[in-house]
């Protein structure tokens, strides 16, 4: 089956009285920093703030360096299957930095940049991807959800969290990140629909990295944009350049603040690209040409942000070298700590099954663990 263009034949002759237009929609695209790192239009105030922009850039860089190390650990048998976030740092840091601690984040498995910004330690990330549940008992905001491996499923939790905020009249927002592939799941649609009709404080960030494992974006849906999926729920949808850290943070900020002030949910489609294999268990050369990847590197969010900093005369080669060295050191320290973790005990399989283990499971615990 191949992807198909939209059937424009649907449009009928409007000169007839028998037909009238009852609804109209427009989908906008937002970009402040182009691929070369130059400004497009007037950026938001924070983009003029040196410290803010440098802190965003630092986090993006730390994520990238962590990511490379995690892949290396997996290759040497020291980590489980790992999904690289390389190339997606701008959108991750963008929406995470637009949140406050009291907000709740619900993400996929590829949102290490956002998790790092939210305070999950690098050691905890390694522990989780090393196959130890304790990595999800993390230092980030304690109400943030563990990573959702089931595509789209966390969107439904996000509307529950948002409903809780609304019922308690709390000015908090539930922020859900999910992939282009996830937009094909009923979970996503049912969730945005509910968020729309209940006008919930929820923001859905669709990380359109063009691939869902081997399926390219155009085989996922005939919709021209993923932002327009919002129309089905009667809520605003916006497409942004997801490799532009300014657009990523600004669009997230607008949506989150609108949600916080009672304005309801938003879908943001962030255009980016999955630079690596789907996970370390994948071999993308089976289904995509290397040229596509090299072309995508030209849109690299890190290089773009760096150019902007340099253009503003906020950043030097020396700063860059120092940053990289500092990130490496941090990552190495985390790895050392990770490798020293005492493995979980088999008994822990029973420890968090229920708050109190029922008698018949006590019997099993004894049977299985002895004693």
């Amino acid at each position: 089956m191949t992807a198909s263009p939209r059937g424009d034949e649907a449009r009928t002759d409007l000169s007839q009285k028998s037909e009238r237009i009852v609804a109209e929609f427009k989908v906008a695209h937002r970009q402040y920093l182009d691929a070369a790192g130059n400004l497009v239009g007037e950026p938001p105030a924070f983009a003029r703030d040196r410290d803010t922009m440098i802190s965003l850039y630092r986090a993006m860089t730390l994520s990238r360096i962590f990511d490379a190390k995690a892949i290396a650990l997996q290759r040497t048998g020291q980590l489980g299957t790992y999904p690289s976030s390389a190339g997606q740092e701008a959108i991750g840091i963008g929406y995470a930095s637009a949140m406050v601690d009291a907000d709740v984040m619900l993400t996929t498995y590829r949102e290490q940049p956002a998790q790092i910004w939210r305070g999950v330690t690098l050691t905890e990330l390694l522990q989780f991807w090393g196959g130890d549940e304790r990595g999800s008992d993390f230092s980030g905001p304690r109400q943030d959800f563990p990573v959702a491996v089931l595509i789209g499923s966390q969107a439904t939790h996000a509307v529950g969290v948002a409903t809780a905020f609304k019922l308690r009249h709390e000015p908090r927002v539930s922020v859900c990140a999910l992939g282009d592939g996830a937009t094909s799941k009923g979970d996503f649609y049912e969730s945005i629909n509910l968020a729309g009709v209940w006008r919930l404080p929820a923001v859905f960030i669709v990380i359109n990295n063009y691939w869902a494992i081997s399926l390219p974006r155009e085989k996922q849906t005939a919709a021209e944009t993923l932002a327009q999926k919002a129309i089905a729920a009667g809520i605003p949808g916006l497409q942004i350049d997801g490799n532009d850290i300014i657009a990523a943070r600004q669009a997230s900020n607008e949506a989150i603040e609108r949600a916080r002030s009672g304005g309801g949910p938003t879908v943001i489609e962030a255009l980016t690209y999955r630079m690596g294999d789907h996970t370390t268990a994948d071999d993308a050369s089976r289904y995509r040409k290397e040229e596509l990847v090299s072309a995508a590197w030209k849109l690299d969010p890190l290089a773009r942000a760096r150019t902007y900093l340099v253009n503003q005369r906020w950043w030097t080669k020396d700063d860059e070298e120092k940053l990289i060295a500092a990130c490496r050191e941090k990552v190495d320290a985390a790895v050392t700590k990770y490798l020293a973790i005492v493995p979980p005990s088999p008994a822990s399989m029973f420890d968090h099954l229920f708050e109190t283990l029922p008698p018949s499971l006590e019997w099993q615990r004894k049977k299985y663990l002895g004693g």
Binding site: V104, E133, R134, S136, D137, R142, Q143, F145, P146, L150, S153, A155, T156, H157, A158, V159, G160, V161, A162, T163, A164, F165, L167, S174, G186, D187, E190, S191, N193, L194, V197, D351, H352, L353, F354, E355, T356, P358, P359, S360, L361, W363
Partner: protein, 326 residues
């Protein structure tokens, strides 16, 4: 204290829980003004408002998923699926999330949710309105499965399920909703989960059942008594995890076990009870274990539903076979 039906006892328990604990919210399709298709939530919206009694769009997946989000945020959602046959779009959320969130997060987030739904055949409804698939949930780690069989037990077990800090599937046999009335004191007292209820003591044979089939099982015990056979009747009530100790103790006494359930036979919860007794109580047995269940067919439409469900006669015959086994 008036005599009330099981469905009225459920409404009473819901109202009591909502009254006592502001974290309790009710959500589902048509639970508001309509009071649920069986009226189990009748009057709750008028009494507790639209914020605590939420009519949801027709989307079972997000209904389950949002319950998880609410629960993780400290609410105690009581979520109604309109019929057990409509619960499957939510199974992913129940199995993969509700039952796992505590374990996944090492206790940081939990899911104190009650997923309620009507179950079972016998009310002459269309397809998908007659299911008994409690076994699917009983096989799932991290969740409880509770099935009441009388107004008083419905009241007490529902209160305890709502108070429980972990997810509970609470299945209500439609055939019993209005089948009998009983005095139920609205005292806010829960009945214990994870234990069986011995409804009738006996010495010759143990009849183990739950849900709607308890009705026929009790009737069979009476019939057997008339014949001089003393049957002990156990209502499992918490169908997962099962209180095997009570069942084993009874079989040790009687030496004979008949398990009765309305669900299909193959890999039903009855199989687990039989298997456990065959492991831990083999030497108690004086006769083969009998299972009286529905066959492994699709629940038929109404013309045949009676032929499908286990009958009092089937139970009596199985008990007789067990008792007469040489």
């Amino acid at each position: 204290m008036a005599e009330i039906t099981m469905v009225a006892a459920i409404t009473m328990a819901l109202a009591r829980a909502m009254q006592n604990d502001s974290r309790v919210v009710v959500l589902g399709e048509d639970v508001g003004a309509n009071g649920g298709v069986f009226r189990a939530t009748d009057g709750l919206m008028a009494r507790f408002g639209e914020e605590r009694v939420m009519d949801t769009p027709l989307s079972e997946t997000v209904l389950a998923g949002m319950s998880i989000g609410l629960a993780a945020q400290g609410f105690r959602p009581v979520t109604e699926f309109q019929f057990m046959g409509f619960i499957y779009p939510a199974l992913d959320q129940v199995i993969n999330h509700a039952g796992r969130m505590r374990n996944r997060s090492r206790g940081r987030l939990s899911c104190p949710i009650v997923f309620r739904s009507p179950m079972g055949a016998g009310i002459h409804a269309p397809e998908h309105h007659s299911e008994s698939t409690e076994a699917l949930f009983a096989h799932t780690p991290g969740i409880r499965v509770v099935i009441p069989s009388s107004p008083a037990r419905a009241y007490g077990l529902l209160l305890s399920s709502i108070a429980d800090p972990d997810p509970v599937m609470f299945f209500e046999p439609t055939r019993l909703y209005r089948a009998a009335k009983e005095e139920v004191d609205d005292n806010g007292q829960g009945l214990p989960l994870d234990v069986c209820f011995v409804l009738r003591e006996g010495t010759d044979v143990t009849l183990v059942s739950w849900g709607a089939a308890v009705k026929e099982t009790l009737a069979a015990a009476q019939q057997l008594a008339n014949e001089g056979i003393s049957a002990e009747v156990i209502d499992v009530a918490t169908v997962s995890p099962i209180d095997f100790d009570t069942i084993l103790a009874s079989v040790e006494k009687t030496g004979r076990l008949v398990i009765v359930h309305e669900a299909p036979r193959n890999v039903g919860v009855g199989a687990e009870i039989a298997a456990t007794v065959a492991e831990r109580g083999l030497l108690f047995l004086h006769a083969p274990i009998e299972r009286v269940t529905a066959p492994d067919t699709i629940v038929p439409l109404l013309r045949l539903e009676k032929a499908y469900m286990p009958s009092e006669k089937d139970i009596v015959e199985a008990a007789r076979r067990a008792v007469n086994f040489a």
